[in-house]
């Protein structure tokens, strides 16, 4: 049976400066989304938690880390677990030039500083569209 509420795992790259992380968590909850707070984790562990928690979305807060290194590792770790259908969004300190790289990897949205809560909630209120609908083949995950 499919649960009614959309479920999201919120994680961070490092423990410091969690203002955005906490504000977004609260905004999502008030927007009716079930939020699991995963704290700061390495990409492989994030994927493991996402599968365990059976979430629809992973929200990845990046501050001190390099998104161009960490996000590909997360996407690969999700695919390796057959969980590529879990939607990934990234928020935080992401240089503009890195955004196209993340979108090409299948990241559904990037929320830089200045993003509004309603905008974030709107994106995540419904389950991620299946990969096929977005013109990406979900059949064969890339080999690790």
């Amino acid at each position: 049976m499919r649960r009614e509420r959309v479920k999201l795992l919120l994680v961070a790259d490092t423990p410091g400066h969690t203002t955005g992380y906490r504000i977004v968590a609260r905004g999502l909850r008030e927007g009716g989304i079930e939020v699991v707070l995963g704290g700061h984790q390495i990409p492989d562990r994030i994927a493991e938690m996402a599968v365990q928690e059976d979430v629809d979305w992973v929200g990845y807060r990046i501050m001190d880390g390099a998104p161009e290194i960490l996000v590909p590792r997360l996407m690969e770790a999700l695919q390796r677990r057959g969980a590529a259908s879990i939607g990934v969004v990234v928020g935080g300190i992401v240089p503009p030039a890195t955004v196209p790289l993340l979108t090409a990897l299948g990241v559904r949205a990037v929320f830089p500083p200045g993003s509004s809560l309603p905008q974030i909630v709107r994106t995540l209120q419904s389950r991620p569209e299946p990969e096929a609908a977005r013109g990406v083949s979900p059949e064969t995950p890339a080999s690790p």
């Binding site: 790259d13 490092t14 960490l70 503009p96 200045g114």
Partner: protein, 554 residues
């Protein structure tokens, strides 16, 4: 301060003025709005002596260098000692950070402040450093890194600020001084050490925060053993009066906790310093700094019984707000940071770090970091505001706001003091979160003006637009490989017998809950790495490993 006849006549004049204002506003079709400061304090459009009628000049203000220090802690202020230019640095390995520090010193930086040192409890060869090492601060594994970091920097001639209170890193600074033959008692600096409840034994044994304070009181008279960072709580969203109240509460708690080890306020308070923010509302910010000075003096003298005037003086570093900077139209941040820095200068800061315009994207480039330093220099050397002590003092508005911030902060402080310390620390977190959330909602609704986000929004054209074409600091994944090679070499070349002995002595200190600093200095001098030291702690205390900002205490 004012003659009753004047106040009476003024009341009449003010009533006429208010009626006139109401009339004009009505003609404009806008009802008189309920004015509020950024922190939500009620604000009047025109201040007069009526708003500060209760002010007693000598009791509430005094002269600079006189109790209660509202007008400054030093009689000559910036005339004899300007604030320290202390831009925060921390990138890549010790080598890159050392180069950046030297570049800034060449451009006129006068103090040292480094972030990232010992933030984690593992070494560079841990998989958790992938994509992380050196991107949000410098990476330090062993004393060899600290030697590189301080290479060519005359540590006895400047003030050193350690961000974070990692005990191994603090011990490394002391170990470098040892190697250079500089007595610890001559070193000047600050460790960003703030008290948290903990250490359940008698005398708070096993509380690393208190260990640091105790050690510094005994060995390092010029070292600020406590630097209470309410700046980061402000960046979490709390208000100006909360920033004041939270800082004062924590300062009082340090003094109170050190009593368990036999130290009184006169021994502890003179070396407590504060790490504060500066936000957009310039008038409120200036009032905040002034109110906090007055409150600290009264708190220390009247509540904690301090008799030494040095214990009454609130000294602080300001790092300008990051929460109010934007990724949109990033050059506008230069102007915001200038307003913040101006508030800090008008408020009488002892030390300053101005955030750079590109920090919503990456660690500052040399260019943007230098521009931040130039911001400080323009204010100090060109604007003229440093020629007068407390230049806004005596303004009806500033004095009234100072009183308002103070009154609000006292009531918050009282609420905190009525709680158990652990509950008070939780409450500060929760209240800051609540305010941060309210602030975000106000920004989303457009009630809180933010140029580029909810006002004067421009289509920046993505990558090709102004922010897309900014030259940003580039992360180099090769730093990690370089650092791991370095760590391996240190492990290979150190004296294994000395390392083993130091490991055992440190484990024993953990088990016996002795003051950790002396055995830690030996541990880092034997070139044990931070990851190895964390393991010693974990095994000695028989505790699971933990992550995060790492204090190496209990």
């Amino acid at each position: 301060m004012f003659h009753p006849d004047l106040l009476q006549a003024l009341e009449q004049a003010k009533a006429e003025y208010d009626a006139k204002v109401a009339e004009i506003l009505e003609a404009h079709g806008s009802p008189p709005p309920g004015l509020k400061t950024q922190s939500g304090l009620p604000f009047t459009r025109c201040y007069t002596p009526l708003d500060v009628a209760e002010l007693d000049y000598l009791r509430d203000l005094g002269l600079p260098g006189q109790y209660p220090f509202t007008r400054g802690v030093h009689p000559t202020g910036y005339l004899t000692k300007e604030w320290t230019r202390r831009q925060v640095v921390g990138l890549g390995t010790a080598e890159e950070t050392n180069q950046r520090l030297k570049a800034l010193f060449r451009e006129g930086q006068t103090g040292f402040s480094v972030c990232g040192m010992g933030y984690q409890s593992y070494d560079s060869d841990d998989e958790r450093t992938v994509g992380q090492l050196g991107r949000g601060g410098v990476w330090i594994d062993t004393l060899a890194d600290m030697e590189t970091l301080l290479d060519g920097i005359e540590m006895e001639r400047i003030t050193l600020n350690q961000i974070g209170s990692s005990i191994p890193v603090f011990a490394m600074i002391l170990a470098v001084a040892n190697k250079r033959g500089i007595p610890w008692g001559q070193l000047k600096g600050t460790i960003q050490n703030w008290m948290e409840p903990g250490g359940e034994g008698p005398e708070c044994r096993g509380n690393a925060f208190i260990d640091i304070v105790e050690f510094c009181i005994r060995e390092m008279p010029f070292w600020n053993h406590t630097s209470i960072s309410v700046r980061n709580t402000r960046d979490q969203g709390c208000t100006a009066p909360q920033e004041v109240a939270f800082g004062l509460y924590q300062g009082g708690y340090v003094v109170q906790s050190l009593r368990t080890r036999g130290f009184d306020a006169d021994q502890v308070a003179p070396r407590i310093s504060f790490f504060l923010s500066a936000e957009n509302d310039l008038l409120e910010e200036v009032a905040k700094f002034r109110a906090m000075r007055r409150m600290w003096a009264r708190l220390m003298r009247d509540r904690h019984g301090a008799k030494d005037p040095r214990a009454w003086k609130l000294r602080y570093h300001v790092q300008t707000s990051a929460l109010s900077l934007t990724a949109q139209q990033p050059l506008v941040n230069v102007i915001r940071a200038t307003v913040h820095a101006m508030a800090a200068a008008l408020g009488g800061a002892q030390s300053m770090s101005v955030n750079s315009f590109d920090e919503a994207f990456a660690i500052p480039t040399e260019l943007s970091a230098t521009l931040s330093l130039r911001t400080q220099q323009v204010i100090a050397e060109e604007s003229g505001v440093t020629k007068v002590l407390d230049p806004l003092g005596g303004s009806y508005c500033i004095e009234a706001l100072t009183n308002q911030v103070e009154a609000t902060a006292w009531s918050t402080l009282k609420a905190l003091e009525a709680m158990e310390p652990k509950a008070a620390y939780r409450a500060m977190e929760e209240w800051a979160d609540d305010e941060g959330y309210r602030r975000q909602q106000a920004i989303d609704r457009g009630e809180w003006p933010l140029i580029g986000v909810n006002r004067f929004v421009s289509d920046e054209g993505g990558e090709a637009g102004p922010s897309g074409s900014l030259p940003l600091f580039q992360y180099d994944p090769a730093w990690r490989e370089k650092q791991i090679v370095r760590l391996q070499r240190v492990r290979r070349e150190r004296d294994p017998a000395r390392a083993e002995a130091a490991r055992e002595t440190l484990a024993e200190a953990y088990r016996k809950r002795e003051n950790l600093i002396p055995p830690m200095v030996e541990a880092v001098s034997a070139y044990l790495s931070i990851g190895e030291i964390a393991k010693v702690r974990q095994e000695a205390l028989d505790e699971p490993p933990f992550e995060g900002p790492f204090y190496f205490g209990r």
